[in-house]
Symmetry: C2
Subunit: 400 residues, 2 copies
């Protein structure tokens, strides 16, 4: 007889990731996937990383093999602080800790900042693994409306009006090339969001894995950088980022910029979570960054994603009557909404029958999902795959 | 004015690791440390790991660089299942998931199994990072007595008598070459512990990072292996292990063997914690194990630690009147107790003045620390350092 285990309430009957549920279809022969958020394998700087790795184990074997400091390898923290400075945020080495992907940064923050039942605002729609982490941590998740430009700060102001100050603990957002919408929050809304954080006394977790993948328009400063300009906003923004989308997810190297009181507590939590991020992959990343290789690679990486994005937008145009889509200025995602009678619920099985995959939008909502929405990623497939996949999607649209 | 952040109760005023507090003394020029639990840098199989790493990125770059499955790289899971079989536990690939060090395995288990306020038994003394994780997770930590052979199961039976069945959620232990005592739990006590788990309906987390480092006596089967032989004990043991002590901590590769219901929930938790353990270091570890290099390296590794342990025991003999010490059959630690008027509290500053470091035993207790105890690790220092460090310790003992 199997044992009757006693689980914590959140884990009595947890649902896994809806996106991972789609993984089984990837094994279908010839499947073309627009579903994942994986970077393009063809864009990995394999040669540069191989060189950085050979240097790491050859020249600094003990850095690679022994336990490392919980806050991260000093050489990597220096490189990441310099990277943040190039991105417009004056960050000192001590302000920044290395995390095992930015996902770990979020998990640490929830341990430190999130009392069970605390209220957390997220974008509607938002990144599913953040939603899942919040639910499992017992947060009460509230959604803030977005439009094509991201968070609708005017609507947020109305949503917050009359609420007691401090009733919202955190706001989590991906302001630059959001997952799933691809939207980039304009400067005036960033400033408005920071003012709302001051007015209503909440912290902002700015998740920025895609910001360096801009391929159109002008850079907008991060919330972290802007927080220095808004009265009372200093110390309200915790910035998470990652090398996963710009270099390689296999490194599992992310970082967090946070005020000292928060950062130090995250380190105490990290000591019980994984002691330290792999010093070996940290050393590889540090070498790669020190070689200047990331800065050299970024322009062609962004150009590569631009080409894929444009190819996908062109291939979607014949379906425009039934599928309204976003045109992102960076990142990896196109967000679509079915219209004019296209049955979104029927679309996924028809697409799978045609051997093409996307993610139904419902996965990205904290509450009241919009069942007409879908997410398409142009990042992983090649150009010919994008063409062929969209031809198949068009057949699926016709059949749905 | 600094912001007044609101932290979760556990993180309002957390204390960091007492062992890490000692790290500052490591910077003292000429310091000899018996404090850390670090493996010997000289024992790293740098050449074998370098070869495995070159194969990994050279032959399977996408395995290294892309996201990997949350449960771990299939090739590594196969190698680890085979390793568990060599260690006497029939483990199928599917029974095992890769974790970011065994520390992550423990963190995942607490998320899944530990309701706030639940009662957890630990050995007295025990591993501090487990204690810390339990405290931060809101557990009520109870201590079970140990003696030179580890958990005193007779005393545990008396401690549990009369308590309602199911009142203890978990028992955490390091039964083989414990940290800090070095004790190895004998077979009869292992069986008695399993029977107690059945009788009182608790789960056992068996943490086994040191088991392969035996240098004296005969192997004793793991609690996991023995759970198959005790009626009702099947499915009650969750086994954690790691490559950190036998290969290299820098890999951050550990694993968990657990019943399906627990394992699947840990995977859901892991998706929100770090998505996957570094596929790159997993691929390196898989290649290293597939090359048979670990099995070839283990005998000389154990012999190396045996020599260090014997050297330290010999060097401690002149202090026997004041310092009673354990003689472990494996692992990395010697546990000592001050006696005959040696003031243990005065010993640490005297030792630091002599440029030698150990860990005061109080760090290892969940409650009522024994202030006369100390932990000495023979793993990291070389033989000459052990000699010199103990000469210094003898001067400190004389001065304390």
């Amino acid at each position: 007889m199997p044992l009757d285990y006693r689980f914590t309430p959140a884990f009595e009957n947890p649902t896994g990731s809806a996106i991972r549920e789609l993984f089984k279809y990837l094994a279908q022969p010839g499947m073309i996937s627009f579903a994942g958020g994986y970077p393009a394998a063809a864009f990995f700087d394999q040669q540069g990383l191989q060189q950085a790795a050979a240097e790491a184990i050859g020249q600094t074997p003990l850095d690679c093999l022994q336990y490392g400091a919980t806050e991260g390898l000093p050489a990597l923290r220096e490189q990441l602080a310099a990277l943040m400075a190039r991105r417009g945020a004056a960050v000192h080495v001590d302000d920044l800790i290395v995390t095992t992907g930015s996902q770990q940064g979020f998990d640490l923050l929830l341990k430190v900042l999130l009392a069970p039942g605390a209220q957390v605002l997220v974008e509607r729609p938002t990144y599913p693994a953040a939603l899942q982490a919040l639910r499992l941590a017992g947060a009460q998740v509230l959604s803030a409306a977005t439009d094509a430009e991201g968070l609708d700060t005017q609507a947020l102001a109305e949503q917050l009006a009359g609420r007691p100050s401090g009733s919202i603990a955190l706001l989590y957002c991906v302001p630059t090339f959001a997952n799933p919408t691809g939207a980039c929050l304009p400067l005036d809304r960033r400033l408005a969001l920071l003012r709302l954080a001051v007015q209503h006394d909440f912290l902002i977790i700015e998740d920025d894995p895609y910001g360096a993948l801009r391929f159109a328009g002008q850079d907008v400063p991060s919330l972290l950088a802007l927080s220095e300009q808004v009265d009372g906003a200093q110390g309200r923004v915790i910035h998470l980022s990652s090398l996963s989308k710009v270099l390689a997810p296999g490194l599992r190297v992310g970082w967090m910029v946070a005020p000292a009181a928060i950062r130090q507590r995250c380190l105490v939590a990290k000591q019980t979570v994984d002691l330290c991020t792999s010093p070996w992959t940290q050393r590889i990343a540090a070498n790669y960054l020190a070689n200047g290789a990331l800065e050299r690679a970024l322009p062609s990486l962004a150009a590569g994603y631009k080409e894929k994005c444009e190819r996908m937008l062109a291939g979607l145009r014949p379906m425009a009557e039934y599928l309204e889509v976003s045109a992102p200025a960076g990142g990896m995602f196109i967000w679509g909404r079915c219209r004019n009678g296209l049955d979104a619920k029927a679309l996924l099985p028809k697409a799978i029958a045609q051997n093409v995959l996307f993610v139904p939008g419902a996965a990205f909502y904290g509450e009241h999902p919009d069942p007409s929405s879908i997410r398409l990623s142009f990042a992983a497939p090649g150009l010919a795959e994008i063409d062929e996949g969209l031809t198949r999607l068009q057949r699926a649209v016709a059949a749905a």
